[in-house]
């Protein structure tokens, strides 16, 4: 189990790094998909079955495809965009590194957390998620449909050509 965890983590981190440092946008999309699949693996490790499946369907299936479509639409090739100056790149890396350290340091100081509920491993099951979703989170669920409508309208409005 632990072994699995480490492999999945390694894959995720390596692919994430490759996203950042690779220049070809299509390659970036591929690496992100790999990252997402590894993440789905992590979800399964945590017994969040519903989430894992939804994750794959929504993210890798829909969002990444959308990205690919747009990249295709815009005809982005490798050599169009010049990269930033070296100083900026180093600054960005350093900033990211500092961020990492700060957050780790933040979490180092946490107190011991005790679980709130008695431990079950059932919570990732579709039945449980569904129960919570439709009992406590009904309103947000319905509201999200409104969110989608507005997102759709917005996307269409932006996409229209002016005459």
């Amino acid at each position: 189990m632990v072994f699995l965890f480490y492999i999945l983590s390694a894959v995720m981190i390596i692919s994430a790094l490759l996203i950042v440092f690779n220049r070809n946008p299509v390659n970036n999309v591929i690496f992100l998909i790999i990252c997402f699949i590894a993440m789905a693996g992590h979800y399964i490790l945590l017994n969040a079955q519903f989430l894992a499946v939804v994750h794959i369907i929504v993210y890798t299936g829909a969002i990444m495809v959308l990205f690919l479509f747009v990249i295709m639409l815009l005809n982005l090739n490798k050599a169009i965009i010049p990269h930033k100056s070296r100083a900026t790149r180093i600054a960005a890396v350093i900033t990211g590194g500092i961020f990492f350290l700060v957050l780790i340091a933040a979490t180092r100081q946490t107190i011991e957390i005790h679980p709130r509920y008695p431990f079950t491993s059932d919570i990732g099951l579709v039945k449980e998620v569904g129960q919570t979703l439709f009992h406590e989170f009904l309103l947000p669920f319905e509201m999200s449909s409104a969110l989608f409508i507005s997102a759709m309208v917005g996307a269409i409005m932006f996409g229209k050509k002016d005459h």
Binding site: N28, A91, G96, I113, P115, F119, M152, G159
Partner: protein, 109 residues
């Protein structure tokens, strides 16, 4: 089932925290120094996902379903945001003829 639960408890929470933080900062790096707006959006997605992972880990360890439902909502929002964001990218391509974010500098002093 016993194996699953014990399996979950085998991996300490700290690891998940560190993993999530690492992913977040890598995404942050990408946002800061990629000039292609689409890649910036992708790294943004990466940051979202690191948060998702963290919340899921916590919900698994606390046996609280609300965490996973919340992750669900985050995914919803992320999806909507990507849709709108990409349409903006298309509009940008039409106006500025490029997807370099440094060319969007009309809001100067």
């Amino acid at each position: 089932m016993k194996e699953v639960s014990s399996a979950i408890q085998l991996i300490p929470l700290d690891n998940y925290i560190m993993l999530s933080v690492a992913l977040f900062s890598i995404g942050l790096m990408g946002v800061l120094f990629r000039r292609n707006i689409i890649v910036v959006l992708m790294c943004l997605e990466l940051m979202f996902n690191s948060a998702n992972l963290l919340i899921t880990a916590f919900s698994a360890y606390h046996s609280d379903t609300s965490g996973q439902v919340f992750v669900f909502f985050i995914m919803i929002v992320a999806a909507a945001e990507v849709a709108v964001g990409l349409s903006i990218v298309i509009m940008m391509k039409r106006n500025v003829e490029s997807v370099d974010i440094n060319l969007l500098n009309r809001l100067r002093w």
